[in-house]
Point group: C2
Amino acid sequence: MANSTLSRKIANTLSEEILKGELSPGDRLDEQSLADRFEVSRSPIRDALRELASTRLIEHQPRRGFAVATIDTATLRNLYEASGELEGLCAKYCALRADAVQREHIRMLHEQGLEAIRLHDMAAYAEANHALHRAIYDACHNDALRDITLDVRNRLSMFHARFLFSEGRVAQSWEEHQEVVDCILRNDGDGASDAMKRHVAKTAVNIISHITQDSRKPMRQPLTT
Amino acid sequence: MANSTLSRKIANTLSEEILKGELSPGDRLDEQSLADRFEVSRSPIRDALRELASTRLIEHQPRRGFAVATIDTATLRNLYEASGELEGLCAKYCALRADAVQREHIRMLHEQGLEAIRLHDMAAYAEANHALHRAIYDACHNDALRDITLDVRNRLSMFHARFLFSEGRVAQSWEEHQEVVDCILRNDGDGASDAMKRHVAKTAVNIISHITQDSRKPMRQPLTT
DNA sequence: TATCTGATTATTGTACGCAATAATGGGAGA
DNA sequence: TCTCCCATTATTGCGTACAATAATCAGATA
């Protein structure tokens, strides 16, 4: 990390802030303001913004600058549909190909989710949830598929960063994970795929209902304030 | 197009050159050389390169610059596996959701492929082939899935831009398309998906054997000459 | 001869300034 | 009061210069 460039560090910082929800969809990313904030010139800022744009966490329009990505409900549904299929594929290949160490790791992360629920620690559950999904991607033994799936997950997660799971939803989520993990541990590829698709679909319904009824801040707002 | 920026035009130009095979994997993209060639300063070149990097057609390493993306055979197989799954998904949703106009368009593009074969025009077949696949993505009614699938297709196509299909392979390819199109026209989602996955798998075998036996120019060469 | 080291060169990273374009705001007319 | 138009302002696009780092090469030593 020490030999990295300024622009890359800035891109990483902004990426984290977007994923954490500290920056909201539609927020404009003014080059000069960012330059002032990071105490650098506009040059590394421009590089960082273009690098970030490649993840689609921010959007660029020529001569109008960058803004944190917005989304409409139709695209949100499309992304969740794609995510379900992709996560299902990862789960399938994971069930068919994961080695013993990877399977044990997945089992352990699933346990950590249960522990988080026992402690009523929703943030810890969110973290365990993310780690479990990533472990499944990693164990699918296809880096290209893993990268694509993770990109979609990140694009989605920025839109519900501010919604914490309810305790009820968390318990349900863990049960759905249970099915996925069971299938993976017994090498049932199709079962794992189906279970994962169901899990993502239920998450989608949950999140979309939260977002659509949350009208404090519309998701699709024009670039200009 | 007229109100676009220099950097975007340059990015488009370079993208086309890579997809056409005029630039080869591993070719370094020197900022000053490109600036001289396009008769601009390095600024729009830098912007264009970072924009291009988002498609993964070129790769960037800090302080070592950009180069046309290279690939090893393992990653190539992974990409084809992902491509097969994604194209299969597009075909499935296309079969289930395409409207009458889209179905007719797909049927017509498939006919054009046959016409190209009759004329022994391999370039025309390649074009019809690409158009058919794109029409299927478009008709899947999920823009996110379409974009992801197209990106993977482009990443793959740059590696076999220089290999023209043999007449034998083209005939076989058309037959495989026939199965896909048949399923789509009769709303058979699973059949379309399976047929498309088989088609991509056969293409993969064909291309990979071409590439691996073509040792004139290794695909994975270090950035430094 | 091969390898290591230090100086030199080439290339990218960053800063800064001007130009071009878009956003903003105020005044005139209806 | 509302709308349109023009001047003003703010922001991005592009050019240029310098700094920092990596690549290259020559010479010394084993």
